[in-house]
Symmetry: C2
Subunit: 346 residues, 2 copies
């Protein structure tokens, strides 16, 4: 801690994850009920016969969303589901949410009603209760803070830190689509700014746009795993891109891993769009982010069971820590996986 | 919900409380575990053998704080305790907090470390565990979103809606000091902007400045009430001013009340400062806000017990709803209490 204000370290010097580590390293815990604090998808709190899960996420105008192409109703919906995705990643069930909303007077009552329509639509779909929050003005822009609560049985909670060597690495759904949707929106926005008479050209791209605008948490996968009798050995949701999340999972579990580029599940429209933009589809899948799919590891013993679950792809396996976190490219070379996720601090 | 964007209602037309009412009126609850949703100091959730309390508050630069006179360490401390005050108001015990932090790159790592030092100092003092959060950048300014969790026994929880006619109305501590501290800071800031060689003149005003910069939640009162065997019939914390809070309490309880101006507990330094600024001390007490004292009602039967608790003042009594929410002025006239709290929406 500095004694004065002479020394100044820029936030960009640490990056988002470095900053979080720096700020949270002095945390002390006082309650035995705190089973897991900072460092997983949610906090885990022992409330007696089960665990309570708690997570909070910020969505900031100009950083996390652009209202030029994000309808307020979709924004409200997405704000809720990205938090529910964290509950899913603990193998939990969401129960309540709280909404902090700060807006400038540029917004009308009708605009906020639309936002709330989206919030309540997500609450209805996933049967969660909106139980509180705070509403205030902001000097400029729109600022959303969502807190989600959930429950999980003590013997089924899934952490990030419990993967073991030889476990299989799985992902749900497909990756990179949301990122390609974002690039497409950004391109059409630039076109529109250049020439406001131009209409956006989005035909045939509905899938990637929907993945960007209206992600869904994968409780269907949570249920399918439960029904198949598979308990993941570790789990995390993919919000910052597969590369970032597998690094978190391996770091917390003190393991390495080997993922296979050719196994990455990527939708044809994502591949097609990536080609258009001149980027590798696997780059979109590894580093794109906002997929809100589940990345999880399972015991080799569950190999036969996992094959019966549609929408789950085995993309590699966990190794010892000293083997590193590696991607086997389609060409057969071994490349260390590096990622910063979305480094909004830059 | 409008079918198009032609109709536009300004936020100022509804005000903060009107807007909250408008946005939350369509909420549906799906879980039996949700004992109390929107409409009290915290949400109340049944987790088995006790209730979980959950509350969230936003603190926005330029709206809730001014870094010209608010050290970041104090801001961090205050951000936590104002949330803990909500837990106190439910007669609860705080256990965990989560911190959402959004900052522009104008802030250095050292500045955020100071903020966190204050956050962790409050966590240490009140023995709460910092268990999670979110850290991201903002286009400008500093946004804080704090979520606090707590516990309360099912038979000791105190709501806003359970006051009854003839109950005594009590407040802890004294009122209006924080508001006078704010006015003093604002005055000295204006002086400084006019002439940067001027030093702030704050001597003898430490009490009101401290009340503004470093409020403390009144868990000492919660413990004293417990020890004295007094369970409040209703309780709320005073964040938006006594007038605003007694209106909430009476509205939710479907009662009226009669408060006595001459009974309002006001510190001599507050009175002195109010005189300097040419405002009525009782106006500061009724409408100032940010006192973070407790406003509660007790049964007449507890009159003898409450007298033994230092720092509690009886300021009036609850009446039937049709009698209205009234202040008996020092001159003996009856004035309806009106308040909007801090209407940041204007």
């Amino acid at each position: 801690m500095p004694e004065n204000n002479i020394s100044r370290t820029e936030l960009s010097a640490l990056g988002e994850f470095g900053l979080i580590e720096h700020l949270t390293k002095h945390i002390k815990l006082y309650h035995a009920s705190t089973v897991k604090g900072v460092g997983d998808d949610t906090a885990v709190i022992d409330v007696g016969d089960h665990y309570l899960l708690a997570t909070t996420d910020l969505l900031i105008e100009g950083i996390h969303f652009d209202l030029t192409y994000t309808p307020l109703k979709h924004l409200g919906y997405k704000a809720i589901v990205v938090n529910l995705s964290d509950i899913a990643a603990m193998n939990g069930k969401p129960t309540q949410v709280m909404v902090g909303l700060s807006v400038s007077n540029r917004y009308s009552v009708e605009a906020l009603s639309e936002l709330y329509e989206g919030i309540l639509a997500a609450c209805k779909k996933y049967k969660v209760d909106l139980v509180g929050g705070d509403t205030t003005s902001s000097p400029s822009g729109l600022f959303l803070s969502i807190t989600a609560l959930g429950t999980v049985a003590k013997n089924t909670v899934c952490y990030r830190h419990t993967a073991r060597a030889n476990d299989l690495v799985c992902v749900s759904g497909d990756l990179g689509a949301s990122y390609m949707g974002l690039l497409l929106f950004e391109r059409e926005k630039a076109v529109f700014i250049n020439d406001p008479t131009m209409q956006p050209d989005l035909a045939g791209k509905e899938y990637i746009l929907q993945r960007q605008l209206k992600p869904e948490p994968r409780f269907d996968i949570i249920h399918a795993l439960l029904n198949a009798g598979v308990k993941p050995t570790a789990m995390i949701d993919i919000s910052d891109g597969l590369a970032s999340e597998i690094l978190h999972l391996c770091k917390e579990s003190k393991t390495g891993c080997r993922l296979f580029e050719e196994k990455l599940p990527i939708d044809p429209i994502t591949i097609n769009s990536a080609d258009e933009f001149g980027i590798q589809p696997s780059t979109a899948a590894m580093n794109g982010g906002e997929d809100y799919e589940l990345l999880f590891t399972i015991s080799l013993d569950d190999f036969e069971k996992i094959k019966t679950i549609p929408g789950v792809t085995i993309i590699g396996h966990i190794t010892d820590e000293e083997d590193g976190v590696q991607l086997v490219t389609s060409g057969g070379s071994l490349v260390p996986i590096k990622a910063q996720g979305w480094n909004h601090m830059k």
